[in-house]
Structure formats: structure tokens, C-alpha cells
Symmetry: C2
Subunit: 238 residues, 2 copies
DNA sequence: CGAACAGTTGATCAGGATCAACTCGAGTGG
DNA sequence: CCACTCGAGTTGATCCTGATCAACTGTTCG
């Protein structure tokens, strides 16, 4: 439960034993949410800070007429409402699958950060990393073809899943529909479908029933012009 | 010089007198840079924290083959390399006009943040705001037409300039070329040109020689589906 | 006076959107 | 056990937004 959060924060920088203990002592409400549940809502100022412990979720902005832009996909360990610690939310977070989350009161979290600047710094660093991912995504939407965009997204997902031990042998569970991918990449569903077929035909991936397999990693990286530097992973980031 | 930074941080939350004094005591190197100068470079880990005091700049990612995506425009008061305080940079910042910047050593800045958690929090909040702008931008690139995208960008620029006292009567100096706008919005230059003409023809804006005038604010807001909530400005944000 | 750059215009092209069916499970309920 | 529905994926045909190519204007500046 809390361990996921501690591990995540510790990846951002060293934590003193006291800081770790303080985090471990967090009174959290573990909660299980069904697929499709709205974990956080546009406009809210959440009372809690929510960490995804198990399952997948995504952040998205819904436009009045039904159009939707998916902003990011969350995997285990991610703090899904970082912005909620200081601001109200500008978009929503929805569970993609059944999710287990850990919630700690925002006020308590702020208390911990006041006592342990290292914790505050870790959250800040997480916010910056999120920003870096947004920017990489922007480059794709502004300047890359559909083919490259899809490839780039799949690379990013794979690297992030690997980093938290959720992918092996370029194989990972990525429970999205093609509609989700479309809304993430700014494409129509039909075109996403065709692009995935092209990637399959080129022997780069296979992707059926939420099981993503990357069959040609260097090929996919090249197709997506993917450079993992922006994820700022330690060590064997590649 | 430093005052710009202090004012900006103070907009993010209260600062104690001690914190303000500490900031005011920053030994900063004021510098003037010519238009086109690269203020920060992709891949660098800057030694300084740079605040734009006067002039305009933009953050951008250059792709190997010459394509370019502009990520954001910076105006007076902005910290242009927030990410550099904790991470290396994933993109570059270039001066749009001659700029005056204030630079304080990163180490010193960290010292201040250790002593004054309020300052650290303000920087964190700035980072979150930047993220919110990126996301709003993503929605546009993914799901809006060229016309709406341009309108949205111009709205954002105007609101931000207003907020720092650089715009009056819906009139502001916005020293970008149409090529810059194109790279910011993911459009071709030709199409940006035509879209601007359409906005002019519809009586929404005029934009010549770096002087942006919004002639029909409600109209432009509607055209761009612009909702300033994501900028989290205090009070009379509209 | 001639670069060099910014803006503009016209003509043509293409990437991706849209519209409309149809297939294929996986439930679900009678 | 079968009929029915519903969501996801797939396919084909057509349309259109915005890209590309190419030229030309105007302005600034050395």
C-alpha cells in the first residue's frame, strides 16, 4: 500500500529514515474501485492525495460536445492527482481497470512535507517529470505522423512499465481500447486502427486483448523517434 | 530585477518577511541577451536559475530533421528553466526579443528553499501551473481545429500578459512571427497565415507588427473554447 | 541596392476524418 | 441453449482540413 508511494518518492531522491517512517505511518484509506470509476474530477479540489497501487487509470479532459483528450496513462505507483496537492484539478482521472488506490489526506501530506523537505522535493520532482511527459507528448501531436505518434506512446508505456517491474521481455499488460489510444493521440478511431495494423504488419508490435508485445524494440524506437531521456530514469533507462 | 521573481512567487502563496528578505538578498547576475540567444539548452543541467525580467522567450524542442515544436512562450516574471532546478533539460529556451534576465545560482536557490519551505512550495506551484498550461495546449493540438487552436493560444497569451500588467485594452506586444505560431500549434506556416486572416476577417483580432489586438474578446474566447480556469489566476482572472 | 526575412497568394496533394457497414466475441436473460 | 445485445475491432468509400510546393510582395537593414 504505502510502500508503493515510498518507493516512488525514493526514486526521486534520498529520504531520511525519519521521512520514510513518517510516510510509513500514514493513515491511508485503501480503496478498491471498479473499472470506469472516476477517481478525481475536473474542477475538484481533492481532500486526499491518491496513489495508484494496482490497476491502470488515465487522466483526461472532456470537452462539452463529447470530444475527449487523454492526457496521460497512470500505472501502479503513480500519484494520480499531484496537482490536487496545491491547486484544484483541471481535468479528470478515470479508472481503466479495477484499481486499488491508497489515499492520504491532503492536509496530513502537507504536514509531512513541512516536516520533511525531502518529501516535498520528491513530490515536486514528480510534478516536473509529469510536465516532461506532457511536453514529449506535445511534440508528437504537433509534429509527428500518426505512425510515429503511436510508436512513441507504446515505447513510453513500455519503458515506464518496465521501470516499475510490470513488464518483462517487452511484454506488458496495457488495458486500453483503440478508442483510448485515439483520444490520447488526437486521432480518429478508424485511423488508429489502421495505424496499429501497419505497426503489426511491419513486425514492430503485437497488441491483442490488452497484451502489448513489442516484437522489434529498436524498430519501434526508430519509428517513434523515441528518446527516453525525458523520463529521467536512473541507470539502465533504456 | 529580483522583484519580478519575488512578485511571481508571492502570487503563488504567502511568503514570510524572512523569505522575502532572503530572496531580495540574492546575488544575481543581471544579463542582457540579444534576440535569438539560446538561454538554456536541451540536455543541459543549468548552474543557474533564470528569471525573465524583460522581453519574450520561448521553449522549444528541435527534432533532428529541422522540425520544431514550441512548447510555451515566456513573458516577464517567468522562471524559464524551472525544471533545471531538479533535473536536466529536455528542450531549449530561446530569446524571442532582446531579453533582460536575472540569474541566481541553483545551489543558492536550493539553500533558500531549504531555509524557507514557502519558497520551495511556490516553485512547486509554478511547476504545476506550467504543467496545466501544457495540458491545455495538448487538448488543443489533439482535438481542436486550427482556427480554435490559434484563438485559444491568443486568449492565453492575452490573459497572461494582462496578469503581469503587460496588456491593456486587449492590446499587447506579442513579438512572434507566424512561423513561431505554426511551430507552437503544430500547423504549417501557410495554414497559420490563412487562419490568422480568417480571425481578422471575422473581426476577432488584429495582429500586425507584433502588436496583438483582440477586437472581440467574447468572440475569441468562444472560438477558442477558452476557459482560463487552468491558469489558476487569483480573483478577476477573466 | 541587394540580401534576407516576414507575410501573402494560388494550386495541388495527402494524411487523416467521417460515414456506414459488418464481424466477432462475451455476456445475459429468457 | 439460443437469441439478443453491446462493446471492440475491422473494412471500404468518400470527404476535407491542413500540408506542400512555388511564386511573389513588402520591408528592413547593412
Amino acid at each position: 500500500m504505502v510502500e508503493r508511494l515510498i518507493a516512488n518518492l525514493q526514486n526521486q531522491g534520498p529520504l531520511s529514515a525519519a521521512a520514510r517512517d513518517a510516510l510509513a505511518g500514514l493513515q491511508g484509506a485503501p480503496k478498491t474501485l471498479p473499472a470506469g470509476a472516476e477517481i478525481a474530477s475536473d474542477g475538484d479540489r481533492p481532500q486526499d492525495c491518491t496513489v495508484l497501487v494496482r490497476g491502470h487509470a488515465f487522466r483526461h479532459k472532456n470537452l462539452p460536445d463529447g470530444r475527449r483528450q487523454i492526457i496521460s496513462f497512470y500505472i501502479a505507483g503513480d500519484v494520480v492527482d499531484l496537482q490536487g496537492l496545491l491547486l484544484s484539478l483541471d481535468d479528470s482521472v478515470t479508472a481503466l481497470t479495477a484499481c486499488e488506490v491508497f489515499q492520504a489526506s491532503r492536509a496530513r501530506m502537507h504536514g509531512l512535507m513541512d516536516d520533511h523537505p525531502q518529501i516535498a522535493r520528491a513530490f515536486w520532482r514528480l510534478s516536473l517529470l509529469e510536465g516532461a511527459m506532457f511536453r514529449a507528448w506535445m511534440v508528437g501531436m504537433g509534429r509527428r505522423t500518426a505512425y510515429a505518434r503511436v510508436a512513441h506512446l507504446l515505447c513510453e508505456v513500455m519503458v515506464r512499465m518496465r521501470a516499475v517491474g510490470l513488464a518483462e521481455n517487452n511484454r506488458a499488460n496495457f488495458p486500453v481500447t483503440q478508442a483510448h489510444l485515439s483520444d490520447a493521440l488526437g486521432l480518429s478511431m478508424v485511423h488508429t486502427n489502421r495505424t496499429l495494423q501497419a505497426l503489426r504488419a511491419d513486425g514492430l508490435i503485437s497488441f491483442r486483448g490488452h497484451e502489448l508485445v513489442i516484437r522489434d524494440w529498436p524498430g519501434l524506437v526508430a519509428a517513434g523517434e523515441f528518446d527516453p531521456a525525458y523520463l529521467h530514469l536512473p541507470g539502465k533507462a533504456r
